[in-house]
């Protein structure tokens, strides 16, 4: 249970600035996901919150108390690492017990907490095993169990699912969501996978090049991206961007513009408010839907998500309709232009 505030937080390694002026206010018990492309600084930001790195500028506050100078255990955090980082020479039981022993927790209470965590994560029968005798998913659960037993105020996850195969990832995603409802800790979760971000988060923080690009609920980010970066990052396949000009006679506050439209909103073969003509480059049939790549003579092909099997010959001409209500407009700096401005 903790409200976490970041005020003007920055981090530099030598002359490289990896985090620049981050201001965030995370509510108590919130599930916040830091998402962004690799190298955007999301893991560094998490490590700053954890206390594994010192901030170069700004303040981090837990429940109003400045924690800049506190060590990770003093901050009351627990962390699940990407590689799990289990102690290989200790059994599952000892792994979960290690932190409690160091904290000199009362023996019986510690034992109870470990058993409880093991029960929640279905590790009861594995307590005597060594990490090398466990599967990837089980190791992941031990890593989470080790974090639970610490009864932390803040739970930190650093890309915890990226080492698991696809099926297990979905299963663990659901378990983590369940865990969040069950524990009353604030959780911060770092991932580069926007599906994980969309499904788990109460709020998402999109980071790029060490800066926060937008903070909001998954639906807000999907429906009202603040800029071209967020628009392109959230959603799969990613949003299409088309160069555009204003019709003559409209007073334009911005010069260059781009129209953004999501693949799922494009209409294949039926004209809409606006239409473009192109040539089919490729069709990827996924069963329930098909992704159609249409060459418009631009750098990138237009991607259309079509429900069902799109039965189109390659190289064939095709019309794609753009419904006006699903289009976004971005100015030369990549900022999202409000709809009212041209409505």
């Amino acid at each position: 249970m903790a409200r976490i505030e970041l005020a003007g937080v920055g981090k530099r390694f030598g002359s490289v600035e990896t985090i620049r002026d981050v201001n965030l206010d995370l509510h108590d018990r919130e599930f916040v996901v830091f998402v962004g492309p690799s190298g955007c600084g999301k893991s560094t930001l998490l490590r700053l919150v954890a206390g594994l790195e010192d901030v170069s500028a700004g303040e981090i506050r837990f429940d109003g108390e400045v924690v800049n100078e506190l060590t990770p255990p003093e901050r009351g955090i627990a962390m699940v690492f990407q590689s799990y980082a289990l102690y290989p020479h200790m059994s599952v039981y000892e792994n979960m017990m290690f932190g409690l022993k160091l904290a000199k927790t009362d023996r019986a209470a510690a034992e109870r907490r470990v058993r409880e965590a093991a029960r929640i994560l279905q590790l009861d029968r594995l307590l005597d095993r060594k990490p090398r005798e466990l599967s990837g998913g089980q190791r992941q659960r031990v890593a989470i169990g080790r974090a639970i037993t610490r009864d932390p105020r803040v739970f930190l996850f650093d890309e915890p699912l990226s080492n698991l195969d696809a099926a297990l990832r979905v299963q663990m995603r659901i378990e983590i969501a369940k865990l969040h409802r069950r524990l009353d800790a604030t959780m911060i979760y770092v991932t580069h996978d926007q599906v994980e971000a969309m499904t788990l988060a109460d709020r998402i923080v999109v980071l790029d090049a060490g800066e926060v690009r937008q903070v909001g609920t998954p639906i807000e980010l999907y429906q009202h991206p603040a800029n071209r970066f967020v628009a392109g990052f959230i959603g799969s396949p990613k949003m299409n961007f088309l160069p555009a000009t204003y019709p003559k006679g409209i007073a334009i506050p911005h010069e260059a513009v781009e129209v953004g439209v999501r693949p799922e909103h494009l209409r294949l073969g039926e004209p809409a408010d606006a239409s473009v003509e192109g040539r089919v480059l490729a069709v990827e049939r996924l069963g329930a839907e098909s992704w159609v790549y249409v060459d418009l003579g631009l750098d990138d092909p237009l991607v259309v998500k079509h429900a069902g099997m799109a039965d189109l010959p390659p190289e064939g001409a095709v019309t794609v309709g753009l419904p006006a209500e699903a289009c976004y407009l971005f100015d030369g700096q990549g900022r999202s232009l409000p709809r009212a401005a041209f409505g």
Partner: protein, 278 residues
């Protein structure tokens, strides 16, 4: 020549070469054992399987304080191993895990120490030993042996510690472990194979060392095994008691072989398996 004959010939050649290497490595030791069983009169008669005659062994222990010498060697070698592993581990943690100015310079200086030949440091070491009042006492040997055991202990352990995943250390930090706890409770168990290997090498180096042991000890009671063996003398200046010398060599070689055999399996085991995904 068909493929099959060629392959067969190749295999024969391989085993011949193997046999040659084994012979080259093992024959001197075998010859030492054989010689140690022969009384002086038969020493120069070629006899590959003499009846075991333990007279030389009795003589070695009777004519000088050889038991005491072995004990000295054991004390010195064990102290060297314990000290160099303890110091090496702490140094390796700092050198492998903590970033500070001049770290690689320090590492190379440590390595540089081991490049000086022993004779070069002998006189300086002698002055130091005298100044510390350690002359003709075992601690002088422990102190001087650390010169050549510490550099490689530090280097090997630093390499191993660097290879341990950083997240493991961070997990321990999050669990509330202080640096000393991390070294002793997390790193130490994982470094087992590395500690055994370097410890064994340090033990062998200390067990075999001759020059410092000869220079820093005076009385027979304080000698270590290599010096004691070298100073075994016969009845007259013209006689070298080969039988006694061989018996003594066999006695002090056996412990080393046993040690290597005991630990050889641990040396190769991969303890970190399962630490990080896999």
């Amino acid at each position: 020549m068909s493929r099959r004959t060629r392959r067969r010939l190749g295999r024969v050649g391989f085993y011949l070469l193997m046999a040659l290497i084994v012979l080259y490595a093992v024959f001197p030791f075998y010859w030492a054992i054989v010689s140690s069983f022969k009384p002086g009169s038969e020493m120069f008669r070629i006899d590959f399987f003499p009846p075991p005659n333990l007279a030389n062994y009795y003589a070695v222990f009777a004519e000088q304080p050889f038991g005491r010498n072995i004990l000295n060697s054991l004390i010195v070698a064990s102290a060297v191993v314990v000290l160099s592993l303890a110091l090496g581990l702490l140094a390796a943690f700092a050198l492998g895990r903590i970033r500070f100015r001049g770290r690689s310079l320090l590492l190379f200086t440590i390595l540089g120490v081991s490049m000086f030949p022993q004779v070069a440091v002998l006189s300086g070491m002698f002055e130091l030993v005298r100044a510390l009042g350690l002359y003709n006492r075992l601690p002088s040997l422990v102190l001087s042996y650390l010169i050549f055991t510490l550099p490689f202990t530090v280097w090997v352990l630093t390499t191993f510690i660097r290879a341990l995943p950083k997240e493991l250390e961070e997990a321990a930090i999050v669990d509330g472990a202080k640096p000393f706890t991390i070294v002793t409770r997390v790193f130490l168990p994982l470094l087992g194979p590395a500690l055994i290997t370097t410890g064994l090498l340090a033990f062998i180096a200390a067990w075999n060392e001759f020059l410092f042991a000869l220079t820093f000890t005076l009385s027979g009671e304080q000698r270590t095994v290599p010096v004691a063996i070298a100073l075994i003398s016969g009845a007259s200046a013209y006689e070298l008691p080969w039988g006694n010398i061989m018996a003594a060599s066999v006695v002090v070689t056996v412990p080393l072989i046993v040690l290597v055999l005991i630990f050889q399996r641990r040396i190769v085991s991969g303890l970190t398996a399962g630490a990080v995904k896999g």
